[in-house]
Structure formats: structure tokens, C-alpha cells
Amino acid sequence: MSVEQLYQEIILDHYRVKRNAGLRDPYDVEVHHVNPSCGDELTLRVDVVDGTISDVSYDAQGCSISQASTSVMSDLVIGGSSEHALELFDGFQRMIQGQGKVSLDEETYGDAVAFEGVAQFPARVKCAMLGWSAMRDALLRVQAGVKEES
């Protein structure tokens, strides 16, 4: 597994030009996630209107993998239902923890398939999951009716 397969052009593109970056109003829930091993931090907001994710915005410090992954994720989930986003999360997590044995459906996942290489680098799995985990956490809080981060 070469590092060039890890850093696909798609990933570098998202890293250089992040989609949906910057914190925006309105939002239902804001969460703050940390990767203690490297200190990466992410603040992420979601806004859900009638079961549809109307916005995901964020402020992130982190490596190319974590930032690009958050960027790709935001593009994928905005405009869809919460349920769909949580399903996407499950599939993405299965792939990334699959040590290269699980692949994603390109139709459904679009740019996220570029992260299949990350599954070969166990040390980077947490990086790729940071944004996704924050999104899942935020959606679960919305569903539970929690408005503020506890």
C-alpha cells in the first residue's frame, strides 16, 4: 500500500478546498470532538428541518485525512434524511475498519470511496472517522431532543 494510494487526488482536493467549512447559523446542535492521540479538534453543527439535514457546518483543526473526510461527509449528508446519514455512517465505518476487505458502493458514497485506502493504515482510521463520528453524535442528540451540548 503506497502513500499515494492513501492521498488520492480527491482527498487532497477536499483538503485544499473544504466544502461547507466555517460555522453557520441556524443550527440545532453543536458538538465538539477531540482525537487525544494527536490533539485534532472539531466543532460541528447540524441543522435538521422536518427530518432533513438542511445544513452541516464545522470548524476543524486536523490533518488532510480528517479534514477531507469531514468535507466529503458534509457534502454527502446535506439534503438527505437523518436516517440516511446514519446508514451512511455505518457503512463508512464498516469499510474503514475493514482493513481493506470492505469496499463502498460508488453510487451511494461518491467521493468517500477515495478513503478506501485509509483502511490499510490503522493509525489513520481515527482521523477519517472524526467528522463522521461528530455528525452521528450530533444527529443522535437532535433525535433525543437535546439542543445544547451537555
Partner: protein, 421 residues
């Protein structure tokens, strides 16, 4: 100096250094994190297990006597190595972190509200958190030395602010920073501590492996260090303390071997060092540490220090030409150890680490267990390259080359020009 030092001969003692990482030779520049082990250390451990293994002290048969002699022999070797006056001043722990927790717990028994403990903002978490916990338990206050813009201990500022004063009960300071490489004026700070009656604890985790050590010269009352950074095994650390101080302290962990008399209604405790060594000790690890000390002593700690100094200067100079690279800490090899932390413009440390790794160059990316220092420096994380007694000039060249490549890769320069600089 370095013509006498035959680094190629040294490297032959470390089989792991011959590894290939993909198409590249391993370039191990993460020795401040953990050092590699020479064959002699690995063999000493294996020989112990296969020929002399038994529990110590409590076992009095032949194997027990051999194991006890090996374990206590390691204690004596450590004492000699750091210039301790008695081997009973050497307490074995599992690592430097346990040693510092032992210090914080036992010295903590004397703390109360109004008392102050002083550390520095450049400490490793292992020399911060134990003191935070001790202060929480006792109501004492934690204070700290700041650093100067060059990344050195801000003694002037400390004097101005009365950091060390009559309320100060403990000062705990790292000898050599694991991030900045700064060598702190420990003896000077110890004198300040002693002038107000405070106990001086030194974190020697980075200093002891790199510099000749003499506890009297350091002027401290306690010194902690860890086996795995000085060519020794994991699972062993050392807390040295002056005998009178150790004797005045309560126990830390309770259990077998640290006792005098145990009754269900209460127990009395053994004298140092045993009072602080509960349960079966890291016996084979002490044997391995002894072999490591023999190994570095045979090379000569002053030779090792000179070799590191030479390489650090060479690396600082080479890295100064890398585009967008900023060094954290002293940029000159003066009072400076072999850890060089840096950032690369626009590239996150994880990504630097990963790109370098793809070329066999192993460095560390993150906050290196020194988050408050990174906060202070205004960076979220950094990269760190660190040399040791087996590092070569070639390896530094490979580091610099790989850093150039990394900068180009992430800025897109590589794709367009096909070249690097």
C-alpha cells in the same frame, strides 16, 4: 571526537536498524519516544529467563539467589551510573511516569492548602498530571515556569513573579525537554528550591539517556528516568531519591515485599528502597536495564553526548533550508538535546509523518504528551525528529530530503513541476 565514535559498528549491534520499510531503509528518528535495543540487552533478558529465572528476595534456593544477585546487581549498577552514594537510594518502578507519581504521592502527603508546587509549561504530561492530582487531593496550588520566546526556561520571569517562595514545597522540572530539546539549568533551579526549603524533583527521562549524569551535580533530591529510552527494556523505570528523604516518606503502593510486619489490624513498612517496591518487581527488566547501562557506559556517555550534539547541529542546519519549516525551541545546538520539533507550513504533522514514513523515515507527529507547551507556542501539534547514539549523518540527509518532498507533495508543486525544490 566523532572519528573515534564508530557509528557503523554501533549500528551492527542493533538488528532492527537493518530493516527495510518498503523500498527504503529504515531511518529511525523517533528515539526520544523510545530507543532501539542492542543485541546485548535482548540476550541478557533471554539468558536470565532461560537460565536464572526465579522470584527475588523471598526465594532463597540457588535460582532465587542468582535472580536476587542479578536484580540487586542492577540496582547497584544504576546507582553507580547516576553517581548515587548508596544503592538503597534507587527505587525500581515500571516507567518514569510511575516514578513521578511515586514522588507526587509521597511528597503529596506533606502538602496542604496554601502550599505550592512548581513545574514548568514545557513538562511532559507525566510531570504535570501527577502534581495536578496531588494538588487536587491536598488543596495545594500548582504553579509553573513559563518559557522565553527562544524556548528556554524563563528564570527571569519566575524571579520577577516570585514563583519560588516560602510557600513552595516541591519544584519538579524536566532536565531536557522532549519537545524543544532545551537543557534546563537544573542545578540553578535546585538552589532556588533549596533556598526556600522545597524538595527538588528532576524528570531525567530525556536527560539521563543523552548526557553523563551525576545526581550531586544536578543538585536534586529526586531523579526519575525510564529504561526504554536508554537502550533498555520497556516495563522498568527508576526513581532515585536521597536516602534521608526516602526514609522520611510514607509508602506508595501496598503489597508483598514493601512491608515489615503485616497484621490484619495494621502494618509497618520496610526501609527504602523496598518500602516503595510492592509486589514482584520487573526482575528481568532490571537485568536488561543493567545490560543497557553496561552498553552505553562502554561507549561512554560523553562520547554519546558529543555524537548527538554533532548530529543535532547537522540536522538543525539541514532543516533550516526546508521551505516553510519552523523549528520550535532553540535553533542552535547550545544547551540542547537531540529532539527537534518543527512545523511545516500548510501540512498537518500527521501528514508529514505519513509521507516521511512512506520513505522509511520514522518521526513522531502530535503534541508529544506536552499539550500545554503546544498551547503556549500557539500550535496545535508538531513533528519531532530525534536522534540517538546509532543515528548517522546519512539519516539526517534522508530526513531533509523527505521533508522537501513532503512540502512539495502537499503544495501541489510536485505534480506540476515533477521536481522537488
Amino acid at each position: 571526537m566523532s572519528d573515534l565514535y564508530d557509528v557503523e559498528a554501533v549500528r551492527r549491534e542493533f538488528p532492527i536498524l537493518a530493516r527495510q520499510i518498503g523500498a527504503y531503509p529504515l531511518t529511525y528518528l523517533d528515539s526520544a519516544n523510545t530507543s532501539q535495543k542492542p543485541q546485548a540487552v535482548v540476550d541478557a533478558i533471554a539468558d536470565h529467563y532461560l537460565s536464572h529465572n526465579a522470584n527475588v528476595a523471598r526465594a532463597m534456593h540457588v535460582l532465587g539467589a542468582e535472580a536476587t544477585a542479578a536484580f540487586e546487581g542492577a540496582r547497584t549498577a544504576v546507582a553507580d551510573f547516576i553517581g548515587a552514594s548508596r544503592s538503597e537510594e534507587v527505587v525500581f518502578t515500571k516507567n518514569a511516569s510511575e516514578a513521578l507519581n511515586l514522588a507526587a504521592h509521597t511528597l503529596g502527603s506533606r502538602l496542604g492548602p496554601g502550599d505550592e508546587v512548581v513545574v514548568s509549561v514545557m513538562e511532559h504530561h507525566s510531570n504535570i498530571v501527577p502534581w495536578q492530582l496531588a494538588c487536587e487531593r491536598t488543596g495545594a496550588t500548582l504553579r509553573w515556569f513559563d518559557i522565553t520566546d527562544e524556548g528556554r526556561l524563563d528564570i527571569e520571569g519566575a524571579v520577577r513573579d516570585g514563583l519560588i517562595n516560602s510557600r513552595t514545597k516541591v519544584v519538579s522540572l524536566t532536565w531536557v525537554s522532549n519537545v524543544l530539546g532545551t537543557v534546563n539549568p537544573v542545578a540553578q533551579v535546585a538552589a532556588m528550591a533549596h533556598s526556600v526549603g522545597a524538595v527538588m524533583v528532576v524528570d531525567g527521562s530525556q536527560g539521563v539517556p543523552q548526557l553523563p549524569t551525576d545526581v550531586a551535580d544536578l543538585g536534586c533530591d529526586m531523579l526519575a528516568f525510564t529504561g526504554h529510552k536508554i537502550c533498555g527494556p520497556t516495563g522498568i523505570g527508576v526513581l532515585w531519591g536521597s536516602y534521608d528523604l526516602l526514609e522520611s516518606l510514607p509508602p506508595f503502593l501496598g503489597g508483598g515485599e514493601m512491608i515489615e510486619v503485616v497484621r490484619m489490624t495494621g502494618s509497618t513498612y520496610a526501609p527504602p528502597p523496598y518500602r516503595f517496591e510492592a509486589g514482584t518487581q520487573p526482575i528481568a527488566q532490571a537485568v536488561g536495564l543493567h545490560a543497557a547501562i553496561r552498553y552505553v557506559s562502554a561507549l561512554g556517555m560523553d562520547q554519546i553526548a558529543a555524537h548527538e550534539h554533532d548530529l543535532t547541529a547537522y540536522a538543525l542546519e539541514g532543516m533550516s533550508h526546508v521551505r516553510g519549516l519552523r523549528i520550535l525551541g532553540p535553533t542552535e545546538a547550545v544547551d540542547r538535546g537531540g529532539a527537534i520539533s518543527f512545523t511545516l507550513d500548510g501540512v498537518h504533522p500527521h501528514d508529514v509523518m505519513q509521507l516521511l514514513d512512506s520513505r522509511g523515515v520514522a518521526i513522531r507527529g502530535g503534541h508529544h504528551c506536552a499539550r500545554p507547551l503546544h498551547d503556549r507556542l500557539g500550535v496545535q501539534s508538531s513533528c519531532r525528529a530525534s536522534v540517538y547514539l546509532y543515528t548517522t549523518h546519512d539519516e539526517i540527509d534522508r530526513l531533509v530530503e523527505a521533508l522537501d518532498y513532503t512540502g512539495a507533495f502537499f503544495s501541489g508543486r510536485l505534480a506540476t513541476t515533477g521536481g522537488v525544490r
